[in-house]
């Protein structure tokens, strides 16, 4: 039983850094700092108000320390939990705990990456693992390909259904002015793209961009005094399944099947209450797995569920309205940007792609090779 209380904290500031490709010699810390300043402007707090720092990046080994130095802050609380792209959902849970316990009052969660500028190999070098490295998988893609192949085998999921996820993401991205991709995409184009690790082509894989973001959380009481309408944390759930794909207990069931129910239980909500989903789409198979594991469709039905444009604009469920990691931005560990879109949807700030009457959004983060799964449910004041 979690001691975290539904709605005890709220996101008050949220911002992206510059996205896509930044100038040479920009550091990940510069991107975190830029996003932090924008998030502070968003809520009207000052740098000196921040007394909790939560960060993770593959490019700065001790990023919470580096960031405190950059800002010359002496935070009361810091957390460098790094479990891949879901780290930041995990930071939300930990920040909520810290704020509830009085360990800090204003928590900054931030991320930055220059992986496009410096190359993926330089930004997140792979560890040698005797049990996998000799077989030369292209990681993480080959791990997701193994899960996709198994899903196809067990449930009859098709490459066309995987491609539907990329096409839907692209349609949403065309409504997002800061999205990396600007041209339409068809299922046929996805299928005919360069093969990376069968059954995944390059269009089944997330982008490789620079980017970062920051969000600021504080107590529900303090949130009400700030500039923007608070976006409350209604539920959080964290779960770890495995580290390497060889050790994933079941290739077609992720630990989202644990993190999701935890978050829903804390929030007192069910999947049908959710107005919009932000699902970490590292590869086209991942939203399919998460829709199943989070309870939006039965296990094995994910491929059929996403078919026919059902998660695209105008479809039956709004998923990844930013354009996702597949078409908007994917700077390595993308989880923070996954949440920023879910926060903005509840605020009603998404312009052309705004989901009507969006009161409850779900942000789901994935880390490693389907390894760590963290779910956050956000809600407007109407949901309290």
């Amino acid at each position: 039983m979690s001691g975290l209380q539904r709605g005890s904290v709220a996101v008050v500031g949220a911002a992206e850094s510059d996205l896509g490709q930044v100038a040479p010699h920009t550091s990940p810390l510069d991107m975190m700092a830029q996003a932090t300043l924008r998030a502070l402007d968003d809520c009207g707090l000052k740098l000196s108000d921040i007394d909790g720092i939560f960060s993770a990046t593959s490019q700065v080994r001790l990023s919470s320390l580096a960031l405190a130095e950059y800002f010359r802050l002496k935070p009361n609380y810091f957390d460098g939990t790094i479990i891949g792209g879901s780290s930041f959902m995990s930071h939300v849970a930990h920040a909520q705990g810290a704020i509830q316990a009085g360990l800090c009052e204003v928590a900054l969660i931030t991320y930055g990456s220059t992986q496009r500028s410096v190359s993926r190999a330089a930004a997140s070098p792979r560890e040698y693992n005797y049990y996998e490295t000799p077989y030369k998988p292209v990681l993480p893609a080959s791990a997701y390909a193994l899960a996709a192949a198994r899903h196809m085998h067990e449930f009859g999921t098709t490459r066309e259904q995987l491609a539907e996820v990329a096409v839907a993401a692209r349609k949403w991205a065309l409504m997002n002015p800061v999205a990396w991709e600007k041209e339409p995409l068809t299922v046929e184009q996805v299928l005919k793209s360069r093969m990376v690790s069968y059954p995944l082509t390059v269009r089944d894989c997330c982008l490789v961009t620079d980017g970062g973001g920051a969000i600021i959380l504080t107590s529900a009481a303090r949130a009400k005094t700030l500039r923007k309408k608070p976006v409350y944390v209604l539920g959080v759930g964290e779960a770890i399944g495995h580290f390497t794909i060889s050790n994933m207990p079941n290739l077609t069931v992720t630990a989202a099947a644990e993190s999701g129910p935890k978050a829903f239980r804390m929030a007192g909500l069910k999947p049908t209450d959710v107005d919009m989903l932000s699902l970490y789409d590292a590869f086209t198979i991942t939203p399919i797995l998460f829709l199943e594991d989070l309870g939006f469709c039965p296990k094995g039905e994910g491929g059929r569920f996403v078919s026919g444009g059902s998660i695209a604009p105008g479809g039956k469920l709004a998923v990844n309205t930013s354009g996702g990691g597949l078409s908007y931005c994917h700077p390595g560990m993308y989880g923070l940007l996954v949440m920023i879109e879910a926060i903005r949807q509840v605020r009603g700030e998404c312009g052309q792609r705004q989901v009507r009457d969006c009161e409850i959004s779900l942000a789901h983060g994935n880390g490693g090779v389907l390894s760590s799964q963290c779910t956050v449910l956000f809600g407007s004041d109407a949901t309290l």
């Binding site: 005797y130 049990y131 996998e132 000799p134 077989y135 030369k136 998988p137 292209v138 080959s142 390909a145 193994l146 899960a147 192949a149 198994r150 085998h153 360069r194 093969m195 990376v196 690790s197 069968y198 059954p199 390497t244 794909i245 060889s246 050790n247 290739l251």
Partner: protein, 130 residues
């Protein structure tokens, strides 16, 4: 528990590989096989671990074909469920990588490695390529 100053789990495993064997461990508290080799069994937390040699037969659990570079042919990466009840990453050789199928029966073959790469197990289809 053996001293880590004298031998490591991977060290023992590699000694088996050099003899052409695929080795694995069993926790004798719950009689469950475990892989990768460890000094402490998962779940039980027990150090009562025995080494066994597999018969080397298994089934392809999942498979992918990696297109790593333009100047290299695509290669297979597979997860193999070994009959004794453990799974490992490997590759299936002696067959077009696109013809490797989930459910295919395979048999181990130890790749001897070289100066830089220690020996490692690969698999071949039983009865040869179809």
């Amino acid at each position: 528990m053996p001293s880590l100053k004298e031998q490591s789990p991977l060290g023992v495993y590699l000694e088996h590989c050099k003899k052409g064997e695929l080795a694995y461990q069993v926790c004798t508290d719950d009689n469950k096989p475990l892989f990768f080799p460890r000094v402490v069994a998962p779940v039980t937390g027990s150090a009562n671990i025995e080494w066994r040699v597999s018969k080397g037969l298994g089934t392809v659990h999942s498979t992918t074909v990696v297109h790593a570079a333009k100047d290299q042919p695509p290669h297979n990466v597979a997860l193999i469920d070994v009959d004794e009840g453990f799974r490992l990453m490997s590759r299936v050789e002696d067959i077009d990588p696109m013809q490797v199928r989930i459910g295919m029966r395979v048999k181990v073959r130890i790749n001897p490695g070289d100066d830089k790469q220690p020996p490692f197990p690969v698999f071949v289809p039983i009865g040869g390529a179809k």
